[in-house]
Subunit: 581 residues, 2 copies
């Protein structure tokens, strides 16, 4: 390709619309342009990268035995009503009508659609297992689309769905996808961290997220540096810490009046103590019944964890009336002492002596609380948010908090969808059973941006060879010098013949402009052809990810470049041996 | 691939939902399944064909110098308002709102979007010409989605847009796309007819449609078998026929009362004459002024042609009040004699003697009309519908009417969109000029179905090698016979290595079932491996498009198959020399 024949509208300045580096660079390097909030056009270079990522995904999915299909983006509303998600997905789904007033949604994901297909077509154990996948446009009505492709209204996703007869077979399908994901992200040149994750709106039994560690990431995660444990903060657990002994021996309980002070910060300021000395008591309605939940004053309750740990299918903060009824006091003064409803306590409070709680009486708190002595605790469970320094639930060593970009997510769904949509198969004995499902997503357009977020410097993008729009940029310093141009074209032709994507920067621009753009767009290899070096039959070869360059004989240049690319390819091949689980 | 590892749910019976052969076969061969009206899922085999068609299109677009991009499917409403098409496209556009009540449409096409991009990015003659294309999902709220992928609510289109500085350059871009289209359809194995077409909702100056001739086609076309002329009925012209002389010499005009009879059929029945002896007079409002339009009683007026020929930007039938005012009579009795408004007459009536017209008086007609003698005609122009037997406008020979499926459409748009959206470039003299545009569409999913509509027999699909889901099906008669299976696998491996897509029908089914499915799905080559032929070291090779088969030595089978495929490829290569224009 020649630069003047394609379309690479690079920008000198950071566009105002972009907040994070990868978004700025996608605009500056001419990969995308904005059409509206959360809506982007892929220009030729951006499109080339997108296709390369898609092809890596396709190869790995096919190798893992998944079958590519393509489902509609426009879905009749009724299918989503069958699983209850027409309501539970809420405003994130775009809704519309046709001219006959029939109602539709734009698919934010495809569990309902693929499960309807499975219900109609997969009827015998002999047709199973099957894993279907598609690479397709998705739509989500984000409250606040931002960061370019990271959180867009329209984006491309690879979504796969496995259908199995047994839980063991479903585990094998899950593992095959997990391993494929490990390979996909490595082949894309990404360092990802696999973390345990909450199943959220998708439901199901278990899930892992593939995270690209980045300060701009929207997800918080913790990871243990001693063992392999890592988890999304929504899901993260922790080991029980050492008991907090604020007094030893602990004095008898003492009622103290703190008029008008009810928040943790007010009370700790008034008493001049740390917030973590306070025992926060929150009243929830879990499956229509009130429960009290205790957590250290410096932490919050993770409601996902809470619901899971106490086996509640719905959970919500109690209203003022219920609090008054259950504790005998207005909100802000609840405490565990003397409550007649179940009291669940976070493991962080196990063994606390000398804690401070609400007194279940307006404007009053109780000092010198020894929970085990003074309160009736139904169960100590891990229900608080986790933070930097907490202990690993697997090995007990401290964990660290980081930010991540979720690029992939795998779920063991179980029978949540197959039950709702009647996906039943007949087994060897002609007995009816529900098909067991998994689902597996990769944010394709988000992956593109995550690569840039992870691989860039102040001058621009540093593409991995595997997904670079062109692997080699050939940069003739003087396009009016005939020998320069002939050598550029010959080199390009020879490399293209060997399967290497090359682009010649044939613009009539100053070398400085071309060097800057080559760095900005981030081609992995740059070959500079200048009259000075040509005098000694040499050209300059430089990797984008290194400051050094080599002078190479013209005749040896193709071989040298092919060797560099081959070595990169072997690095990727070796990645195939990485064990994901 | 092995049959049991993929997913090919063939059906024995014709599905009730399908009306035409290609739709039935897509369902029966397990290529697609219906999700809702006009919404289809592509199953693995259908998806493979789709990708092969897309790749042919992509190669030819790239070879023609077009640059692949990807634009959003969701468009802010405002962009469509700028060209007036938010209103003029009417209900065919799906409309929706996001949670902030901002309004969007789902793109039925992308002229507005790509022209906005051009307006923002293409500012100098040095950046031109450029042709962008995408292969993308489109949405149209069809009144009556039908015939499977032929008229769907969601479908895949390849849409390309050229941007040029001059009309000559725009012609060259148009011609490049036209030639690419000729190659694309030939490579897809399709016989297409290129016809002149109306520009319709797209606007612009000129257009051609690529039609697949088929009785089930939704478009009517005429073609001249003597010269190259062919056109969509919406656009078709005809040469002036011989004058209709019903009397010679013609008598003086005579008023005749025909009480209560006003329609063509009533009057011709009453007078016992042919409908074509009647001169139909229709009053139109053209750009707010009344005009009379004459056409033979056996024909209709083609309003597209009429508007174009009389240079009217809007045209509509006059209401009862206007007719009364202009003719002095109620509707049904208008005639050209004595009218004071402009009278346009179809060329089919030029020279008519002895015609019959309304008398501009209730219940009265006039006999013995000689138009040239009796009426003041502003202009004789070609404004009627064209039909079988009409004379070719180029060579004067009779034309024939056929039905066609529109698979491609190329338009010279001119400056319709670039004017509305301000796509201006600076020329060599730093003068501002409007960019000149063309647009070029291929219905990708429709092309898939059109191939089936054109290439099938009573037993199933007959895929061309170029787009077949698998080029070779290997059919072991007895999967429990070890030698049979070994030979099937070896043959498959050897063919795959040579780049041939093969599938082994490894199902434990009766041979009859496998033969029927191989014909139904329509793999171009079938290799049957049976114990009887194996005894003499032979297998049976049969083309789907022929009744004959050959027995070939096992060792020579790969070579024979590769030769057949090579010959097919050469046929396609030769197609590259076909001149489109």
């Amino acid at each position: 390709m020649q630069w003047t024949q394609t379309f690479i509208p690079t920008l000198r300045e950071d566009p105002q619309e972009a907040e994070i580096d990868s978004h700025k660079l996608m605009l500056r390097a001419g990969l995308i342009r904005k059409l509206g909030g959360g809506l982007y056009t892929f220009l030729p270079l951006g499109f080339r990268v997108l296709k390369k990522i898609e092809n890596i995904i396709r190869e790995e999915m096919d190798n893992a035995g998944a079958l590519e299909i393509l489902m509609p983006a426009l879905h009749p509303k009724e299918i989503w009503e069958k699983t209850g998600r027409y309501i539970s997905m809420g405003d994130v789904m775009f809704k519309l009508q046709d001219r006959q007033k029939k109602e539709y949604v734009l698919g934010p994901t495809h569990e309902e659609i693929v499960t309807s297909l499975a219900a109609a077509e997969l009827r015998s154990y002999r047709q199973l297992p099957k894993t279907f996948y598609q690479i397709q446009v998705k739509f989500r009505d984000e409250i606040r689309p931002r960061f370019g492709l990271m959180r867009a209204k329209e984006f491309i996703m690879k979504d796969a769905y496995s259908f199995d007869t047994t839980w063991e077979a479903a585990d094998a399908s899950y593992e095959a996808m997990y391993k494929a994901y490990v390979r996909i992200f490595k082949r894309c040149g990404l360092r990802t961290k696999v973390v345990e994750a909450d199943t959220g709106a998708m439901g199901g039994n278990w899930s892992h997220e593939f995270m690209v560690i980045a300060d701009s990431g929207e997800d918080g995660i913790v990871e243990c540096e001693s063992c392999s444990y890592a988890a999304n903060l929504e899901k993260a657990e922790r080991a029980q810490p050492a008991p907090k002994i604020w007094e030893n021996p602990v004095k008898p309980c003492e009622l103290v009046n703190i008029p008008g002070h009810s928040t943790i910060n007010q009370v700790s300021a008034f008493l001049n103590c740390k917030t973590e000395q306070l025992i926060k008591t929150i009243i929830y309605i879990a499956d229509n019944k009130p429960v009290a939940v205790l957590v250290s004053g410096d932490r919050d309750i993770n409601e996902h964890k809470l619901a899971r740990k106490i086996n509640a299918s719905s959970i919500a903060l109690a209203d003022e009336t219920t609090i008054q009824q259950v504790t005998g006091a207005p909100a802000g003064f609840a405490g565990p002492l003397g409550l007649s409803i179940p009291v669940y306590c976070d493991i962080g409070l196990k063994g606390i002596k000398g804690g401070i709680t609400g007194a279940n009486k307006k404007d009053a708190h109780i000092l010198h609380v020894d929970l085990e002595r003074d309160a009736t605790i139904k169960e100590y469970i891990d229900i608080s948010t986790v933070k930097d320094g907490d202990l690993c639930p697997k090995c007990g060593k401290p964990m660290h908090e980081k930010r991540g970009i979720e690029v992939g997510h795998v779920f063991k769904l179980g029978t949540k969808y197959t039950d709702s949509l009647g996906a039943i198969y007949l087994d060897e004995n002609r007995q009816q059973n529900t098909i067991i499902m998994g689902c597996y997503g990769i944010g394709v357009t988000r992956t593109l941006q995550a690569i840039i977020e992870q691989l860039h410097d102040k001058d621009g993008i540093i593409w991995p060879f595997s997904v670079a729009p062109y692997q080699v940029v050939i940069l003739p310093l003087n396009i009016h010098h005939q020998q320069t141009i002939t050598i550029a074209k010959d080199l390009s032709a020879e490399l293209q013949k060997a399967g290497v994507d090359t682009i010649i920067d044939d613009r009539d621009e100053r070398p400085g402009v071309k060097f800057k753009d080559a760095d900005l767009v981030g081609f992995p290899l740059r070959v500079v052809i200048g009259e000075k070096n040509l005098a000694s039959n040499k050209v300059e070869i430089k990797r984008r990810d290194s400051a050094n360059f080599i002078l190479e004989n013209i005749s040896k240049t193709p071989e040298t470049i092919l060797n560099i690319i081959k070595e990169e390819g072997e690095k990727t091949d070796n990645l195939h041996t990485v064990q994901g689980i």
